[in-house]
Symmetry: C2
Subunit: 678 residues, 2 copies
């Protein structure tokens, strides 16, 4: 056995693809396309089929010999400067390209930074763009370009494009870190990415309708306020506040979790963490109190459609996972900045255009938080109080997609609850607006700066294994009982009414009915409640897609139509807007699957998909940088355990927690002061 | 001027009533009723009329001489052992009973602990109760009584009652701190609180309908499991887990807030905290960045109706504020248990039955928390990242109402956001159930133990002063634009549609419309957005009351019908189920006010009321003690500021935060280990 093979034998089937594996895979593909220049778009672990992986995991849990499973890498590439797109799977254990195929011409791979930078250079050199710059009397060195993934209008669907929004740096300091979104220019540029040349230059509308474009003067926008806030403290005229005292999380005995490779154990939870170019962090093989709960948890997709109806803005609508990738855009997290306490970082690898592995260091941070009180009871008879704190384990990643940041976290709670938290922050994508204009689809957030309304619509894929592979999806409504002399004489009674979903489909929510969504295992009865064990899905209740039914936004974002979906598990069915979202035409997402294959989903291997969103009607307070908008989806054990799983958490006490009285601290400071004076 | 007067002159008009003030007030009332034994029920600050208080606060803010305002105490009392109930207001500055009145006989004061204890003694001595105890062959010393405020069935409405639920301690240890809710007895007792004697003994139903009562055997319930979990670690058979390492919040330079009396200043916020017997903690005179935002914020009421339709359980439905009081039941919070870090405690006073003041020490704790990331942006061009953490100020109180605990917190965020957080914890109120029975209105949470479904419905009273006293309440829906060749050619456009509420009324919510509720000041335009300044109310979206329209539960809990209400401000209009909720008959709450007085509410001094709830369908995991169920309502500045108010928070850095790498800690421990061995 070679040294490499020996090393590889240490990899778990769910460990992310290593740099060596990615490079081995791209090398094998390069061999196959010998002499043809390739542009690699994506590479990462191709997870084993569920049947194989389940057998492996069962053997692992039961301490049996592990069946051999080859490691596979998924790769996506173009023939350089052509529209020819390929995807394939390479068996890196046995060094062979297992399969590959060229994709239809309407399918487009994600954008990448190198390509976007090249497009930006092309824009700046274009003679007609130069005329626009001259018209505006601005210096090249002040210009900042924001190339975006392109939307779809139904024309030229086989061409690859980028749309480039134009800004300038803050003219007062011309600093590369100034907030250029405060200074939008009045034109944008569309670039053909295959020909790599400017295709179209478009003036932006500046008022309520298109006509205002015509009367546009020759300055980018008419600024009247002297004050334009900066988010970068280095550039701000006013120094940062000094009122905030340090707040440190000290864990004198270290963390309560252990990380071995990608296996994490913490407070009755055991699971693995994965990482890939598209979804970023993924969670696998979760068990709680020794019982299986989830096979795989992931953010599966997000769509950000904008509400400005005007040409050329109306195409603005990005699938940030499928078009770019949450692994590709993962931030390198820094100690003492992105989390507090004792922190474990995990990284991963993506692929460069040339096929070399690109490290994404510190892409995931793992740490504990204290989330207040888990439970308390005071016995008023004895005056004895018992209080237990709520400790959580947070796995966090942060992605930057041009202007926006998203902070995603899987949060594990001692109570068996798992939370997916989304924080939307970063900077609004802005457009210029006339001095006195207001528009009904946007907010003025600065002088001459308009931030259009937009939605951020996310989907979380929940592949459950509640007590085992076969589960059902039910919802339970609380329903008032009818008046009845004998059975409901005071009209106070209410009961729950359960509905089991029989076929793969979307499922509607209802606040008015107190609807509760549950994943249950009809094969295992809780001995206490005498009902099936389960996990509750507590949704984030939000408005669905606002674009018109039939519109391109609507056709492409199939998951954005309903808050809940259930499907029967299928290998490689991971992305509810389809595998290829960039300039997609629709018809390959979850609505298509469930319409064409309304599989039975009762007591089957099912997948539950939750769609939720922020409808971002910008506030002035969201500029120049946005305080995070936070939403949390929860998975809660529901008659999964036989009693409160936090029952044995030691009570909270001062010896453990070392809190300080406000007065004592003040006295101590005063004391210290005095001593210093002596 | 006497010494007392001089001391009193230091009290702010919003400071809670002091022990001296309460005792002065009850002494003056005792003089008035000389020779008649009184039973005091409640006493606390009678806040000045808004006109007077606003003038005072304006003078205070502007540094003008403060107008004199007498301190007043509200008092409620019975003539002892009679149904005669009185309320009055005592001017304790000028030593006079300003007004008092006897209330109609259908009005009842809250219950109190002394009275409940007396009722429990009466129950235990009653000869027919003794027969029931003999029937069950249990020892008096093991019995635990849970006297509850009484429900209403429309009969004998002028009599005062308590309903007493019966339990035994854990027979294995007979410990006073054992979880008696695991051992419910099969009968309950109703006590007449005026005559102070047992009125009725009732057997509880044990199956789906009443008939099962008849076949009930002579043991309380048929226990088959050996294991019955205890929440008190002292009593548990299994020792607490040892996996959780300490997590300490260290604030080496102390807290960032200052507390002077009841005035709190923190990170651009300035407000006062109040305390009274009924609402517990209240928040007053809130300004942010020097601009008025809220006049008064409070939890105004809560209702806990149970869904079990059977006699005699069908009366179970408690108004925990009006019937008992969040100040009266406030926990004495302990250092290192209920919060971490540097903590300031504030206490208050309520009244004893005899008119003496009763201290509620440490009823409110004030501390800071780090709530993750406030905002971040990574400039992909320069690779520079700026990240700012989200510091919050938490004012927390915890109340114990028999079996349940509620943790209420007002949370102030650097972004100008104010959150009201509710955590429901404690122990489920349980009933016995037959060995194999299941009921559609409850969950089996232990062997022979059933926890009925119930709702916890809360109302938060928001008295705004957004930029000044006159505000309007509007909601804004996001609405897709119609297809239009010219105005919406791709069908992507959407706009907001605002509806202003014109008359005092309830207001419905709509997730499907992306409804946003706003309190706006139509008199002040934000110079950036060119729209009125405002604060957004982000509701907790929940099911409303499930009891039948027309039922007593429904008639009494007027606020439980709609998630939002708006009224025109009126002095002393604080409680949306009416001032007297115990055994109330309805007709005195917010629905009655708005129906009888649909006041104009556009650009007026308005009050907004938000109703939200937990529909508690118990899980096995909620027993023997309940992991806190958490819900948060938010008030967010909405074009209130001219830019992101957290813009000047210093960036997060390691020097300030002192985080530790997981590996470094492990190395340090190993190192320490080695050194210890030497």
């Amino acid at each position: 056995m070679s040294a490499i093979a020996a090393k590889e034998s240490y990899l778990h089937p769910l460990d992310p693809a290593t740099a060596e594996e990615i490079e081995k895979a791209t090398a094998l593909i390069k061999q196959l396309f010998f002499g043809i220049p390739l542009h690699f778009k994506a590479a990462g672990l191709d997870e084993p089929p569920k049947r194989d992986l389940s057998a492996y995991l069962d053997a692992e849990h039961e301490g049996r010999p592990l069946p051999p499973l080859p490691r596979r890498v998924f790769v996506m590439w173009y023939i350089h400067r052509t529209p020819r797109l390929f995807e394939g799977v390479v068996d890196v254990t046995n060094n062979k390209v297992e399969q590959y195929q060229e994709l239809p011409r309407d399918f487009h791979g994600p954008v990448d930074r190198a390509e976007m930078n090249e497009a930006a250079e092309v824009v700046m050199k274009d003679p007609n763009v130069r005329k626009e710059i001259q018209r505006l009397k601005i210096d090249d060195t002040t210009i900042v370009l924001d190339p975006w993934d392109f939307g779809v209008d139904g024309t030229e669907t086989q061409e690859r494009h980028t749309q480039v929004f134009m800004y300038i740096r803050n003219p007062e300091n011309n600093d590369p870190d100034s907030c250029h979104y405060s200074f939008p220019l009045d034109f944008m540029v569309i670039v053909d990415l295959v020909a790599m040349k400017v295709k179209k230059i478009l003036r932006l509308p500046l008022g309520v309708d298109q006509k205002t474009t015509e009367v546009f003067s020759d300055v980018p926008h008419r600024r009247t306020n002297l004050f334009e806030p900066e988010y970068t403290h280095r550039l701000q005229k006013n120094p940062p506040r000094t009122t905030m005292k340090p707040y440190q999380v000290i864990q004198p005995e270290g963390a309560s979790f252990t990380v071995k490779g990608h296996l994490i154990e913490w407070e009755k939870f055991r699971f693995r963490v994965g990482f890939n170019w598209r979804e970023g962090m993924t969670i696998h093989d979760v068990s709680f109190m020794g019982r299986k709960a989830f096979y795989r948890l992931s953010l599966s997709e997000m769509f950000v459609p904008y509400g400005d109806p005007r040409n050329p803005i109306y195409r603005k609508g990005a699938f940030d996972l499928g078009n770019v990738g949450a692994g590709v855009t993962a931030n390198n997290l820094a100690l003492g900045c992105d989390c507090l306490g004792v922190i474990k970082y995990l990284g991963g690898h993506v692929v460069g255009n040339d096929g070399a592995a690109v490290e994404k260091p510190n892409a995931i941070c793992i740490h504990e938080v204290d989330q207040g009180i888990q439970w308390k009871h005071t016995n008023h008879r004895t005056k004895n109080a018992t209080v237990v704190r709520k400790r959580q384990l947070v796995l966090q990643q942060i992605i930057t997609v041009a202007n926006y940041e998203y902070i995603f976290a899987w949060i594990f709670d001692q109570s068996g609850e798992i939370t997916f938290e989304t924080r939307a922050t970063g900077i609004l994508s802005t457009q210029p607006i006339d001095a006195d204009a207001k528009v009904p689809w946007g907010t003025r957030v600065g002088d001459g700066v308009m931030a259009p309304y937009h939605q951020h619509i996310f989907n979380v894929r929940i592949d459950p294994a509640v007590g085992g592979p076969n589960n059902s999806f039910v919802y339970s409504d609380s329903v008032r009982m009818d008046w009845d002399e004998e059975l409901n004489p005071l009209g106070t009674g209410y009961v729950t009414k359960e509905t089991t979903i029989h076929r793969a489909s979307s499922v509607q929510d209802s606040v008015a009915d107190g609807r509760v969504f549950k994943i249950v295992n009809p094969n295992i009865e809780n001995p206490v409640s005498k009902t099936p064990i389960g996990y509750k899905v507590v949704p984030i209740r939000s408005q669905m897609l606002l674009a018109q039914p039939g519109s391109w936004h609507w056709r492409r974002s199939e998951f954005c139509e309903a808050p809940m979906w259930v499907t029967r598990y299928q290998d490689r069915q991971l992305f509810p807007a389809g595998d290829y979202t960039n300039q997609s035409l629709g018809g390959t997402g979850i609505k298509s699957w469930t319409t064409h294959n309304p599989d039975p989903v009762v007591n089957e291997d099912i997948v539950v998909w939750h769609t939720f969103g922020f409808n971002h009607i910008p506030r002035v307070e969201d500029f120049p940088i946005m305080p995070a908008e936070i939403a949390q989806m929860h998975l809660k054990p529901y008659n999964f355990c036989n009693y409160n799983p936090t029952n044995d958490v030691p009570p909270s006490n001062q010896e453990f927690n070392k809190s300080v009285l406000y007065e004592d601290h003040q006295a101590a400071s005063a004391d210290l002061c005095c001593r210093n004076k002596l």
